[in-house]
């Protein structure tokens, strides 16, 4: 049965062709799983209709966590755990805490953002990457279409749309 293959891959040679192809394929009602390109293509996420990343929210929250941790830590250490007078200042010399507070904010925001990014894009070290077409790391743009997401459409029709949108090759790909 044809439904055994899970993905249809359109292979494109040129980024301009690809950008228009994405628009065309989507306007024909085909849902695109993902597009793999050897280099970042400006405007690709717009034509794919991706929503803006929510990563900045994660960065902000992790940054706030860093500030809070740094301030609590210093306040606890310098005022309760081992109170020290430095430079004739109060035990809770707030201005002195700001540089460490700043550094911890930046550190946790950066680490948190990298961590969240890796988890959300499945970049775990032990993750088995699904390689659709190895040439997407060289000179080809690969548009992957998940058949399960397009069950209402005829496969031949999808291939036809890909062909007419400028794909130079159309392949099937399935994973274990």
């Amino acid at each position: 049965m044809e439904r055994d293959t899970h993905f249809i891959l359109g292979v494109y040679e040129d980024e301009d062709v690809l950008l228009h192809a994405v628009e065309k394929v989507r306007s024909n009602g085909v849902k695109i799983h993902e597009v793999y390109t050897p280099y970042p293509i400006h405007g690709l996420e717009d034509v794919l209709g991706y929503k803006r990343s929510r990563l900045p929210i994660a960065a902000f929250l992790f940054g706030m966590l860093g500030t809070t941790l740094a301030m609590t830590m210093q306040f606890y250490m310098m005022s309760f755990d081992w109170p020290m007078i430095i430079g004739g200042k109060d035990y809770a010399a707030f201005p002195d805490f700001i540089p460490v507070g700043f550094e911890m904010t930046v550190l946790l925001a950066a680490f948190g953002m990298v961590g969240v990014f890796m988890i959300s894009s499945n970049l775990k070290p032990w993750a088995q990457p699904r390689i659709f077409d190895i040439r997407s790391t060289d000179d080809k743009h690969i548009m992957a279409i998940d058949i399960a997401n397009n069950s209402a459409m005829d496969l031949e029709r999808i291939k036809e749309i890909l062909k007419s949108s400028g794909a130079t090759e159309i392949n099937n790909k399935s994973f274990e």
Binding site: R52, P56, G87, G88, K89, D96
Partner: protein, 431 residues
């Protein structure tokens, strides 16, 4: 060039400084002048009960506050004017393409420079002893009871090659030289811009880049020294090694806000159609980033002084923080110039939408004026200062004066660098 049909922008546009716009600016000017006049009258009549003989037997006069206000606004608006030219030069030195439609907007702020220079020199001679403690000749006379060995040690910086306590020739020469060369570079940039408009070709871009590089080197030195001369010398005993940067950062944020506000104003009038949200976003990023840079410098200066606790350094902050007049403004300063832009401009949307940016820019312009207020008034007026009618009035008078000069200048030339080699690139600016 013509493969995208959408880009047929009108490149021959010129800002029309309409009578209606002029009238509204003039209205603000008149309101400011009335408030200022009212403030002066109140200070003259109500100022009689000042506690004479507190600081070295020197009674406070109402006109000292007027001079201090003149000085705050001189320094502040000079900063905005020179930052316009500086940001223009930066675009060439950085070979920036995105900002091409904004170049003439930036450069137009330089029209204020000649006025600023004349006002600065005039105010210096008018105010003299009333603003600058170091101008008193007795400070340098070893036989005088008020001889001040610290100021005597710094005297050459003001008076060389003449005798200390006479005419501050070195100080005046620096002031005239800085303004002279700033105006020279401004005129040079304008001249090259005009030639580019008329003749076209890439050679003017290269020419401008060389001149920009020379200007930036000169500005790096002159901005710092002018901050020592015009602001830091008020608190003559005190010094801070990063003061020049700190003043520059304050100028830069205020200048960026003024450039952004003028751009949004022009867009609202239907000019600069090629300037889209992406360009506005970049200006917003500059304002956001340099507000944090300003805070970094402000705090670096504060923290080291606070931490080291050397009396000769900490006096600057003690004078301000323990004062009933200035104490609250320290926190207003940090609140308006750091927390507000930091929290409001953090999101992408806030930087892209004119409304937010307009609001934040307007508040920042006031915020950085308060920064300069805090630099100048405590050392000149002490507890007799504050923000009252005179401050508000003078700010409005200067602000509308600058607006008249800058917009009047902007109307003289083509609004867009129509033959700039990177104009096409700027249309496609996308972030």
């Amino acid at each position: 060039m013509a493969h995208h049909g959408e880009q047929h922008y009108n490149l021959e546009q010129r800002f029309d400084f309409t009578a209606a716009t002029k009238k509204s600016i003039m209205t603000v000017l008149v309101i400011g002048a009335v408030i200022l006049g009212l403030g002066i009258v109140l200070a003259m009549t109500g100022g009689g009960h000042d506690e004479a003989g507190e600081a070295g037997g020197h009674a406070f006069h109402w006109y000292e506050r007027l001079y201090a206000n003149l000085w705050i606004n001189n320094v502040y608006f000079t900063g905005i004017a020179i930052v316009g030219v500086f940001f223009f030069a930066i675009q060439y030195a950085a070979q920036a393409g995105w900002s091409t439609p904004l170049l003439r907007v930036m450069l137009s702020f330089g029209y204020w420079l000649p006025f600023a220079g004349i006002l600065m020199v005039a105010t210096f001679f008018l105010a003299n002893h009333d603003l600058f403690h170091w101008t008193h000749s007795y400070l340098f006379d070893k036989n005088d009871p008020q001889y001040d060995s610290i100021i005597d040690g710094k005297g050459a910086f003001f008076f060389w090659p003449m005798a200390k306590g006479t005419f501050p020739i070195f100080f005046i020469v620096r002031m005239v030289l800085f303004f002279g060369l700033w105006v020279f570079f401004f005129k040079k940039f304008q001249q090259i811009s005009d030639q580019e408009d008329q003749l076209g070709g890439n050679s003017y871009w290269f020419k401008m880049r060389s001149w920009s590089a020379f200007f930036l080197i000169f500005f790096a030195v002159s901005s710092s020294i002018s901050a020592w001369d015009w602001v830091m010398s008020i608190d003559t005993h005190w010094f801070s090694t990063l003061f020049g940067w700190y003043v520059f950062a304050s100028w830069f944020v205020a200048g960026l806000c003024a450039i952004t506000l003028l751009t949004i104003f022009l867009k609202g009038k239907g000019y600069l159609e090629m300037v889209n949200q992406n360009h506005i976003h970049d200006m917003g990023k500059f304002i956001f980033g340099f507000s944090i840079f300003w805070t970094y410098l402000w705090f670096s200066q504060f923290l080291l002084i606070y931490y080291a606790n050397i009396p000769e350094e900490s006096v600057y902050f003690i004078e301000r923080l323990t004062s009933d007049v200035y104490g609250p403004f320290i926190f207003v300063n940090i609140g308006l110039n750091f927390f507000l832009p930091f929290l409001v401009l953090m999101t992408r949307d806030a930087k892209r939408h004119g409304v937010f940016l307009k609001l934040v820019c307007s508040i920042l312009l006031v915020g950085h004026w308060i920064d300069f207020f805090l630099m100048v008034q405590p050392g000149t007026l002490g507890h007799n200062g504050g923000i009252g009618l005179m401050e508000v009035g003078m700010f409005l008078v200067y602000g509308s004066g600058v607006a008249l000069v800058v917009l009047g200048g902007l109307a003289k030339k083509n609004l867009i660098a129509k033959n700039h080699p990177m104009l096409e690139e700027s249309y496609h600016h996308h972030i």
